[in-house]
Each structure stands twice: as C-alpha cells, then as structure tokens.
C-alpha cells in the first residue's frame, strides 16, 4: 500500500471539513464538519505511525487516541455553546452571530 | 538553603509571582481581600528572594554573571534557559520587584473601574514575571519571550481599566511595540544565523563581532534599535507613550514608567551594544542626536500640556533622552549615568504617576487649569508633588541629578573615534533641556499646588495622603533621597560590570 493513498484520503476529508466549516450556517453542522477535520488528522497520524518501525510506530496511535478524547470534549463544549446561542436567539444561524464585529 | 537559592534563587524571583497568579485563579472572584493578600505575599516573597540576592551578591565581582543557571530548553535551535545577573541587571531587577510590591500596596483601595481586583492583581503579577525575567535572561529567545510577556498584561490593563480612550491607547501601545518586536526578533534570528548558531548572550558577545561583516552588523543593529527605541521610547517613536500613560490606570502608568521603559534601554546596554560594538559606534551619533532632540522636544511637549498625567508622560520622553544620550557616548561614565538615570527615573516618575493618580481620585480631573491650591487642601500631597518635581528636574541631592548631570558630563568626551564636536553640541543642548525641565515642572507645580483652591473644589473635603499611600510612597521617597546623596550605592554595583562590558568598545 502506498502511504499516499491514506494521506490523500486525509487531505480530501480535511478539505471537505474546511468547506463545511466555512459554508454551513447551522452550528451543529459546523461542529460535524470539525469532526471531519479531526478525523482527517487522525488518518494522517496513523499513516505516519505505520510508516515507522520501533517505538515511533506507537506514537501515532497514542496521539490519535488523545485527539479522539479532545474531540469528545470539544463536541461537548461546542454543543453547549450552540445551545446557549440557540437559547438566546432561537436560532443556530452562525452568520447572525457577529458580536465581534469591529 | 543557600545552596538551593544559589541555584534556583533567580528562577524563584522570576516565577514566584506567577505562582501567586495561579493561586489567585482558583480563588473565587468575590474574595477580594484574599486576592490582595495572595498578590502581596507573592510579590513580597519574590522581593524577599531579591533581598537575599542583594545580600549574597558578590559586589567585588559584579561584572561576573552570578546565580547563573543554564539548562537545556529548546534544543533544536540551541536556545537555553540561561539566566543570571550581574551589576547591570541587579539594580533593575530589584527595582522591578520593589515597584511591583509598592503597586500592590497602593492598589489596596485604589482599584480603578471596573474594579475586579482578581484580574487586575493577577495581571500585575504576570507583568512582574515578564519584567523580572527580562532582566535576568541571558538568552535572546528567553529574553524575547519575557520581553513580549509584558505586552499582554499591559494591554489589558490599559484596555480594560483605562480612561475614556483606552481602546485606542491600548491598541496603539500594542501595535507600536509589536512592530518593534518584530524587527527585534528578526535581528535576533540574524544574530543566530550569522553570529554563530547560538542565542546565548555571553557567547554572542564573544563571537558575533568577528563573525558578522560590518554592513550586516549595521542592519542587525538597526533592527535591534527599532525594537528597543520604540520601547524606550525615543523621538520620533514616542507617540504611543503619552496616550498609553494618559489612558492607563495609575498602577499601569507607574509600572509602565518605572519598569517597562527601562526594558528598551536595558536592551541597548545588555544586547545591542555589547554584541555589536562596531555597529553601535556607527549608530551612536544618530542615537545621541535623537536623544537630545527627544530632550528638547519632550520638554517643549510638556510645556504645551494641559493634563497633568500627559505632562508627566512627555517628561518621560525628555528624561529617557538623557538616558539615551548617556548610552550613545558608549563610555563607562555615560553607561553608568544611563543606568542611574533608569533607576532614578523609575522612582521619580513612578512617584509622579502615583501622585497624579491620587489627585485624580480626589478631584476626578487632571486638567491643570481646573486644579490649584493643592497645598491648601492637601498640604502633604502637595509637598510630595513638589519634592518629586524637584527630583525630576534634576536637583542635586536627589536621585534625578545622577541620571542627568553625568550624562551631560559624559557627552563632553564620547568614546574614542566619535566626533567630539558633535557630542559637545549635544551636551550644551541637553543642558538647555534641564532649564526647560525646570520650566515645565515648576509651571505645573505652581498651577496645581500654589494659590487658592478653585471655586469648584473650594468646599470639597479633600483627604490628605492616607495609609496605603504612605506605605507605598515612603520607600520611594526615601530611595530618591538616599540615592541622591549616596550615588555610590548604585554606582559601585554597576561600575565594575560596565567597565568590563564597555571598556573594550
């Protein structure tokens, strides 16, 4: 197997994720797109891990595990924020959330 | 104990305030007294380490790096956690600890709006980490990290607790200094790549000169100059200072004036000049010229001010001009004068900002036109203001004199190879600056303190200086007098280090 096939899969997922993050209005969908990005990264990590022999081989897996954990936390907090926004505005349309307007 | 402190004393001195800030994080926001106590204790602990350093410092060998540590830090770029102090950094380190303690004491009942002592004191502590760290760092990257660490707390201090135009002032401050820092880090990188693949200051001092061609050195020095000159600030990079000072809360102004400005001049003395002495030689006449322009310009600026705080801020431009003039001579006498001027300016201008803050607390305005008769309503405050004005205009016997006169003295005889005629002209112009200083300070004093109170405040009951103010101010006032009478206390520390570092230039 080529290493590139995994890496390109990762890149594709990543870019789809980026598109989702940028183009979606619904907060929940944006969070889902972020999950795509994180998964893309995980594929990369595992692919790089598989490239190596010895102790480095395990590093990719461990990092992937950490990322899964962090992603879980992120989803929790992120959804809480979306909920909060929804509660305040009865909408999860992110393009209306512009408190940071300069 | 001593062994431990020998190894870790400096690290403790730098990071104890951070510990305090972390502790404060877990204390609920409502418990203000606890916050104050934690902040005070951590600054005092750091100060206690400072006192220990003072007592255990080997004054006979103040040119040597003491209490040094060098641990590996970022191996990839050969940057190390290398800290240590010598006679040049010790006074500034101690000053920084000292001022922070006094600021915390002063804050006891002087929290500016929107109050929130927790955040305010935590920022103060983080500031202290940055300041202390800058003065002990012996590695360029470490120096840079500390140097930049100072920026954020100050940004928030101005931007959150500041006056009406705080946002503008904070952003201006931030952008200005960040711009300088960008050029500075570029120069650091250039030093690394061209000067011998190291960020270690003592090593660079040994090798950089030989490794770098003169033209390159000139450019690198230029970058360093921009970084430091903006921080000083030198004319014409000073315009952030009046805004920042005017908008900053009292404590912020004090720290800004007393310590932050010194980071720039310290950078010149510690990094720019020793590492690139030849480039410094070429640059020095220009630096000296900007310095004297700053002296006169700052003084004229002061004369035009109607706001007390803004006036003091402009006076900083003039005073730092004297410091930079001393540095520009590249002679030990001049550098000694500069270091003395830094410490003296820290004490005196810090004090002036404290007073301005207290005046604002009492009268809710700093418009010189609206003030008057301070001596009638609050005689002690008025006399302290007079005392500081006198110290600031360089009255012999008070600390300010030793920053001003030796700078003038040294300008008569700059380092070998520089134009004497030019520097002697600078000397005369700088002397004229002393008269202008007397002009704006006494003018300010007359307007604010002499005469009878204006009608709008005539019936107000004005508190004279109270407890926390006394506690915070007495040490500074005493310091101004003691250093003024016994300059040897400071010069004996700095002189060997200065001689070792600058006699070869």
């Amino acid at each position: 197997m080529l290493i590139n096939q995994f890496l390109l899969l990762g890149a594709a997922l990543f870019c789809i994720g980026v598109y989702g993050v940028l183009a979606r209005k619904n907060g929940v969908l944006v969070l889902m797109s972020i999950e795509l990005i994180l998964n893309a990264v995980n594929i990369n990590l595992l692919a790089f891990g598989a490239m190596h022999q010895g102790p480095a081989a395990i590093t990719g897996q461990v990092f992937a595990l950490f990322i899964i954990t962090v992603a879980a936390a992120e989803v929790g907090v992120g959804l809480a924020i979306v909920l909060l926004i929804y509660r305040n505005r009865t909408s999860v349309d992110l393009s209306e959330v512009d408190l940071m307007k300069g | 104990m001593n062994d431990f402190l020998n190894d870790w004393g400096l690290t403790l001195a730098v990071f104890l305030p951070l510990l305090g800030a972390v502790v404060m994080m877990v204390i609920p926001r409502g418990e203000e007294d606890t916050h104050k106590i934690v902040a005070l204790v951590s600054t005092l602990l750091s100060g206690a380490v400072g006192v220990w350093l003072l007592f255990n410092f080997d004054y006979d060998h103040s040119h040597k790096l003491q209490f040094a540590r060098s641990d590996s830090w970022i191996e990839v770029i050969n940057s190390r956690y290398h800290i240590g102090i010598d006679g040049i950094s010790l006074p500034l380190l101690v000053l920084s600890m000292f001022i922070t303690i006094l600021v915390v004491i002063y804050s006891w009942n002087h929290f500016p709006e929107p109050h929130n002592p927790k955040a305010f004191l935590a920022l103060t502590l983080v500031l202290e980490v940055g300041m202390n760290g800058t003065f002990v760092a012996q590695d360029l990257i470490l120096f840079f990290v500390f140097f930049e660490l100072v920026l954020l707390p100050m940004y928030f201090m101005i931007g959150v607790w500041g006056g009406e135009q705080r946002q503008y002032a904070a952003i201006k401050f931030f952008l200005f200094t960040l711009f300088g820092s960008a050029l500075m880090i570029l120069s650091f990188l250039a030093l690394y790549f061209k000067g011998g693949q190291t960020f270690d200051m003592p090593q660079l001092i040994q090798v950089a000169q030989a490794n770098i061609s003169h033209n390159t050195a000139l450019w690198i020095f230029g970058g360093l100059f921009m970084g430091f000159a903006i921080k000083v600030p030198m004319f014409p990079f000073h315009t952030w200072l009046p805004d920042a000072h005017t908008q900053a809360p009292t404590q912020g102004s004090v720290i800004l004036a007393a310590i932050l400005l010194k980071l720039g001049t310290y950078g010149f003395i510690r990094i720019a000049i020793p590492i690139l002495p030849e480039a410094a030689h070429t640059w020095a006449p220009w630096i000296g010229g900007l310095a004297v322009v700053g002296i006169i310009y700052g003084a004229l600026g002061c004369l035009a001010q109607t706001d007390l705080k803004r006036l003091i801020a402009f006076s900083s431009v003039a005073h730092m001009g004297f410091v930079m003039l001393g540095i520009a001579t590249l002679t030990p006498v001049g550098i000694n004068a500069a270091i003395f001027g830094m410490v003296a300016h820290g004490l005196i201008t810090g004090m002036l900002f404290f007073i301005a803050g207290s005046v604002k607390d009492r009268f809710h305005t700093l418009e010189i036109r609206r003030l008057g008769g301070l001596l009638v309503q609050a005689p002690r405050l008025g006399w302290i203001l007079g005392f500081c004005a006198m110290a600031s205009l360089g009255l012999p016997g008070l600390a300010g004199f030793w920053g001003e006169f030796p700078a003038i003295l040294s300008a008569y005889s700059p380092a070998a190879g520089m134009s004497e005629a030019l520097f002697r002209t600078y000397m005369v112009i700088a002397s004229v600056g002393t008269v202008l200083a007397a002009g704006y300070l006494l003018w300010m004093f007359q307007r604010t303190a002499f005469g009878n109170p204006p009608e709008e405040f005539a019936d107000h009951h004005i508190h004279d200086v109270h407890g926390p103010e006394w506690l915070a101010w007495t040490p500074m006032l005493a310091g101004i007098v003691v250093l003024g009478v016994l300059p040897g206390l400071l010069l004996n520390i700095t002189n060997p280090a200065v001689m070792a570092a600058f006699s070869r230039i």
């Binding site: 870019c15 598109y19 979606r24 692919a47 897996q61 992937a64 954990t69 936390a73 959804l79 | -």
Partner: protein, 172 residues
C-alpha cells in the same frame, strides 16, 4: 495486497462521498447519519493501518457517543427534521474555492514529497512482534508509561470540558 487496496478503495470512496453529502445535505438529521458513515469508514481504514484499538475506540466513542450527542444537539435546537432550505450561508463560493485550493496544494505537496513511498509490509511479520510493536498492548504500555502525564492532563481536560458544558448549558 490487492484485497487490501480494494478494501481501501471502497472505504475511501464511501468516506469521501458520505463526507461530501454531509456538507451539502439540506437535512440536519441526514447529516448526522452521513457522519456515521464517514466515521465508520475511517475507523475501518484504521484497521488497514494495523491500529485495531484506535479503530474500536473510533467506533465506540464516535459512532456510539458523539453522533448521539449530535443528534441530541439537533433535537434540542429544534432543527426541522426533514428539509431545510437554508443550511448554507452566503459564502459558499469562497468556501468552495478555499477548500479546493487547499486540496490542490495539499495533494501536490504530498504527491511531490512521498512519491511512491510504500508502507512497510506487515504480512511477513509474526503476530507476536506485531502485538509488541503496534498492538493494543503496546498502546496501553505507551499510554501508561511514556505518555502518562499527557494522559492525566487529558483527563483533567475532559473534566473541565464536562464542567464547562454544564455551566454553559445550564438553564438559569
């Protein structure tokens, strides 16, 4: 070899297609279901990379837990279960350009750099060695020795996120 490649092709295609549907669908609940497909395909890909533990975790945590949370989120924000006309905002074009551009750059860099580099063959390696170098046991050893401190930190992070989520979502 070929079997592996075929498996990869199928999995990758389903992952990418599902992902594309995920970001284009007009139904929020469908999006969540597409997410399940993506996550499952990616998890299967992990097995191809000999990381069975991560693959299992992926399925358990992601598909089992996170997608459920998403569904809860969809429900609580009362998204229409069914078609919703406006799920995209007005910068879809910019987003598309950016994403394609990024994809182009990434592909170019990857292809340029790794060329035809192959992953090491694992077929010849004995099971015991495989277990010792990249098996579940090895992962456990690594987490509880080399990466002990990060592990603890992550646990604190989870706790903080838990508390944070409660604080944020609490209705008061």
């Amino acid at each position: 070899m070929i079997a592996e490649n075929i498996a990869f092709g199928v999995l990758a295609a389903s992952a990418v297609l599902a992902a594309l549907r995920l970001v284009t669908t007009k139904n929020v609940v469908h999006a969540a279901l597409y997410l399940v497909v993506v996550l499952a395909s990616v998890g299967a890909n992990y097995i191809l990379l000999a990381a069975e533990f991560v693959a299992v975790v992926q399925l358990l945590v992601y598909v089992g837990a996170i997608v459920v949370i998403f569904l809860f989120g969809v429900m609580l924000t009362r998204a229409q279960i069914g078609h919703e006309s406006e799920l995209d905002n007005d910068q879809r074009g910019i987003a598309l350009v950016t994403a394609l551009f990024l994809l182009g750059i990434l592909s170019y860099v990857l292809i340029d750099f790794f060329q035809d580099d192959k992953l090491p063959e694992l077929t010849g390696v004995s099971k015991a060695t495989l277990q010792a170098t990249r098996g579940t046991g090895a992962v456990g050893d690594a987490i509880f020795s080399t990466y002990l401190v990060p592990f603890e930190v992550v646990s604190v992070l989870l706790l903080a996120a838990l508390v944070g989520a409660i604080v944020l979502a609490r209705r008061d």
